[in-house]
Amino acid sequence: MSELESISVSKCEINFLPGTKDYRGKPMSEGREAAEQSATLTSFRVESSDELNLIVGLLEWPQANPEVKVIDLLAGLEKHNELEQRGRMSITPARDGNWLVVLSVLKYNADKDRFTLHAGHLDQIDEYLGQSFEELLLAVGALRVGTRAEIDEETSRTANQLAVVVTPGDIQTLAVTYTVTRALAVINDFGMDV
């Protein structure tokens, strides 16, 4: 896989920012009570046709699971605030040592009048994305896409969750996954009856 400086995905443009930084904070996987610690931050910028300018980062913690979270919402519409508040993407180790990301999607919840994470379905994602999400992920570098049973031999109650397996640290596939399931879902008002 070649190192790309930018990737266009539907109405978004992802730019990879060079280098890494130290980041102080609490790992999501350790819960609210976790102690603050240092992570290595690799970041990318997501810009959209509707003025979104968002810095997102991959945090690699020495003693906890990595995660993808918003670092800074630099500009955007009122509705893009949804991205700053919610939509962290957790990463767990796959059985073969690679990284596994469950494909949850930010979806409008009418009862709460805001976006919340819901189980992803490829047909619904393909519809707002305008192309096959699975093909896009594989083209950008994903190792496997499917249910956790299919791609990670999962047998527990999470076996049917849609997920992607990526090479550890594969920022490109992680960025595309984040952009499609979070940014583009909000931009396209996914789940809103409009």
Partner: protein, 365 residues
């Protein structure tokens, strides 16, 4: 003239094909009729028809038989002077000729959006009127139809190296230029619900779907600036922009909002210009409708307007019954301007519809 086929959905090429088809059909028809009449010993037949029509007091604006509108009009008259010469004439031919005349009038008034669906529709009409007298245009129209179907189905692969385009007649170039002017106007102020093409306007406001109010950047309500129009403007914006949020208003009041990431024309801050005028704006949708006296039927799907709108439409239908007769054919443009198609001159707008009171999915937005 060589018979050009489309290779993609380029609007100017499509427009050129439609205009060139008209010129070819006109020439072939007049040659065909000249031959027929000459054989019958009537070389001055066109002048004779002109005198006949003028004697009846009918308007006769055609200068030669080389005008397709003349042929289509004369052949469709109950006392047609040329009907007997065209093989296999029937009512279907007359209907197709009538439709084609109206379409060509729209083409010459820059009201026909040159897309593949329109090209298919107009090619079908050309085929229907030119097949029975055995004109070459019929074969061209058939080839255009199959090509359009292949392009729409994604099975047509354009050649790597395109043949150079044959030189175009002056009349075709003129209609292309007029279209480009009309297209620039359209892009400057597109219909409600269509893509916004210009720069982003400077005045930023926001519309709130819960309070149905309009605010400036300080959160102060500015709906009062609109006076009596306040409620109406907010409803139009939210019809096209149901989620609400930031909008940008241009100096003339045209208003843009981002819908699913796309800058979109959502209405006007104030009255829309030409709101009270009776001119028809925009491009005609490639569909036909008929007024039953109480309802509008979409002639393609046979569905009734009264049963297919998101918002109540009965008031508008009763307005139509005051303005147009039962059985009237109707067309609509992407601006929602409803009108009875005419084969000469400019049509008049009957009323303005919007996506909430029209068949779903047909108007933009």
């Amino acid at each position: 003239m060589s018979f050009v086929l489309p290779v993609d959905d380029n609007d100017v090429t499509i427009l050129g094909i439609m205009a060139a088809m008209e010129i070819s059909a006109a020439k072939e028809f007049s040659d065909f009729l000249n031959n027929q009449f000459s054989t019958a010993g009537q070389p001055d037949w066109f002048e004779e028809v002109r005198h006949y029509r003028k004697a009846l007091g009918a308007p006769f604006t055609y200068n030669s038989a080389n005008d397709l509108r003349f042929v289509l009009n004369e052949a469709a008259q109950p006392d047609s002077q040329i009907w007997h010469l065209i093989p296999n004439m029937n009512q279907m031919w007359v209907n197709a000729a009538d439709n084609l005349r109206k379409k060509l009038n729209q083409l010459h008034h820059q009201q026909l959006r040159p897309d593949l669906n329109t090209l298919f529709q107009i090619s079908s009409l050309f085929q229907q009127v030119t097949e029975s007298p055995g004109l070459d245009v019929a074969g061209w129209a058939r080839a255009v139809k199959s090509r359009v179907q292949a392009i729409l189905a994604g099975t047509f692969e354009p050649p790597q190296v395109l043949d150079p385009e044959p030189p175009k007649p002056e009349a075709v170039r003129a209609i292309e230029q007029e279209y480009e002017t009309a297209q620039r106007e359209f892009e400057k102020r597109p219909p409600w619900g269509a893509k916004w093409k210009g720069p982003k306007p400077s005045r930023k406001l926001s519309v709130d779907r819960n309070t149905r109010d309009i605010y400036d950047e300080n959160g102060t309500s500015v709906k009062g600036e609109l006076g009596k129009l306040g409620g109406q403007v907010t409803e139009i914006w939210l019809r096209y922009y149901p989620r609400g949020g930031e909008v940008w208003v241009d100096e003339d009041g045209a208003t843009m909002g981002y819908i699913k990431g796309t800058a979109t024309m959502i209405g006007w801050f104030g009255a829309a210009p030409d709101e009270d005028a009776d001119t028809v704006r925009g491009f005609v949708l490639p569909r036909e409708y008929e007024f039953t006296g109480v309802d509008v039927i979409d002639l393609e799907s046979r569905s009734m307007l009264s049963k297919n709108t998101k918002e109540p439409v009965l008031e508008h239908l009763s307005l139509l019954s005051e303005k147009i007769p039962e059985g009237a054919k109707l067309n609509i443009t992407d601006y929602g301007d409803l009108f009875v198609p005419v084969d000469e001159g400019d049509p008049e707008r009957i009323t303005r519809m919007h996506k909430g009171i029209w068949f779903p999915g047909q108007l933009p937005g």
